[in-house]
Symmetry: C2
Subunit: 347 residues, 2 copies
């Protein structure tokens, strides 16, 4: 597209999203070219086809999708754009796959400042580069003022699972070990703090980050990995309960083994939250055969995104599929699967 087709360039400093930006005409083409493609695919040279042809290496292809509605849109450690890349890249990686391509779809609210949209799209571009994925196709719709909350972003990822890797939530077996890749609950507490709902300052940043490289290192070290799941809504507790139910097993955790930052523990205590129920966006739970647990832990700790990994429990036989925790004081309690997250719109 030639710039002259649009008249004046988009006003990225003072302009706002208008209904015309979703109208399929020149205004939309200009928004796509001067804002979206400028950051996501600077070589594209203008809006093109409504599909992308993917270059894929051999292997099984996996797909995952995630809508992102987090509020606030900017928070310590990230924003909705980076989160929208990480969330889907991580879902793909949890198959043991290398994420390669993303599609991004935007529902924009009329009146959203273009400067804010540009900041979010630039953050997506940076997150995609860091995660080694390309955003290859997209879509933009605009809804009237009051019909969205700034913007919602759905990303869909495609990746490829290497030969011989078989990972899924139904594969845990009694005797397996359960590991987490780092301290739990940072993201949820960072979001709460950014909403001003804590009433006090908490120096916690979201843990949002891409986990595909960490997964690749884990798969290389322990190809027998059974389950991987990133702990988002519902936290580690929800993930463990899902795995217990999918695999038809029980899980026993040791409370003192679960890494929680002191600031997060303090905020949780103040709020009456269990850190195991607080969302992360850059932590995963892994299950592997017990005799491979040390090798897996070593591989995780050797990776910058798993330095604080820990072995937190074991898989046991249990007809009730309970997740139980041995407390610091020698007791035992059930780690429940809650009706809902305690915090809405966390991702």
């Amino acid at each position: 597209m030639r710039r002259s087709d649009y008249g004046r360039p988009l006003d990225l400093r003072r302009g706002v999203v208008e209904m015309a930006h979703g109208g399929g005409g020149r205004a939309m083409a200009q928004l796509i070219e001067e804002l979206f493609l400028h950051h996501l695919d600077p070589d594209a040279g203008g809006a093109g086809d409504d599909f992308a042809v993917l270059a894929l290496p051999p292997g099984r292809v996996v797909m995952a999708t995630d809508a992102h509605v987090v509020t606030p849109r900017f928070f310590p450690g990230g924003d909705i754009g980076a989160l929208a890349v990480h969330g889907t890249v991580n879902d793909v990686a949890m198959a043991g796959a290398r994420p390669l391509h993303l599609a991004a779809s935007f529902v924009l609210e009329e009146g959203l400042p273009l400067a804010e949209l540009e900041r979010i799209v630039a953050s997506m571009a940076a997150a995609a580069r860091e995660a080694g994925v390309r955003i290859v196709t997209g879509d933009t719709k605009v809804v009237e003022r009051g019909k969205a909350d700034g913007l919602y972003i759905t990303t869909t990822g495609v990746g490829v699972v290497p030969e011989g890797v078989e990972i899924g939530g139904a594969r845990a077996r009694p005797g397996d070990a359960v590991l987490v890749s780092g301290p739990v609950g940072d993201h949820g507490i960072a979001i709460l703090a950014a909403r001003g709902e804590l009433g006090f300052e908490v120096p916690v940043r979201s843990d949002t980050q891409p986990l595909a490289d960490l997964v690749a290192a884990m798969v290389a070290a322990v190809p027998q990995l059974r389950c991987l799941r990133d702990a988002t809504r519902g936290g580690v507790a929800a993930v463990l309960n899902e795995i217990a139910r999918q695999s038809g097993v029980g899980i026993r955790l040791r409370e003192e083994a679960v890494p929680v930052r002191p600031e997060v523990a303090a905020a949780c205590e103040f709020l009456g939250l269990d850190p195991l129920h607080v969302a992360c966006e850059g932590r995963l739970v892994a299950v592997c055969p017990g005799d491979r647990a040390d090798a897996l832990l070593a591989a995780m700790r050797a990776h910058p995104r798993g330095r604080e990994a820990a072995m937190v429990g074991v898989v046991v036989e249990d007809a009730h599929h309970f997740v139980q925790m041995e407390t610091r004081f020698g007791g035992s309690r059930i780690v429940d699967w809650l009706h809902a997250d305690q915090l809405p719109r966390i991702c």
Copy 2:
């Protein structure tokens, strides 16, 4: 999942979407199982992994994504659920690909009646069956009352292009023929009528439908097909202008050759709209070498979704990349590429 994990079943008659349904806990699992999977994948037996492994035949893999925000959600000839399947299936098909898998992501507004959501999901399931695709993975988020307009659905499709097929918007050449697969503008006028914005009754149904089978028949008959694009926002006029710009050519249409239903023509005349600018959701524009145009037209007309296809124009050399139309009265006018669609939230 065992039904007893949830207590009472979802109240699909009188229940509404609650914030808890997006919370990653039991309430969300119940919604996914008893409503989404019940219709989309009855054999799944409960919520599982956050990714899907795809079975793909050999060939180039293509991906397309589309957000759907149409209002009203139900209209003559379709609803947002069917549209969300057709829109993305058609984008994938426009690569000359056979669409195979869909991911579906939902942003639900608190308070949306579950009965309405179920009707939409059932419609998606029926549309997917008809289009020969499987909805293999998904995501659900819930936002507070007043933060969405009922629901928004993003679907992302993956398909495979057969060997030897090369289709794209930049491939049109002077001397090529331009065809449309049926009457234009039905969808836009049906939506306007359903919104009650016409002030009179118009017996027009949306043309929303899957076009992959038609495309397969076209590719089989004329493998040299150059461009395919479905005419949605901006109508046939936007599609032709996009192809002209991408390919660096001009296009000449004959007005009398463009099929328009009399009811649509009358509504357009009353409203001062050009039918070429009114959205379709089940019509495509095709460009092929001039000497293959008769074969392509015959193949289209032999297919139930292309019975009313027509040859509407030719590709010409034009440094300005204009789309021009010879009018019924022997004149000529430029078919402009508008700033925006005349009708917002049409898809």
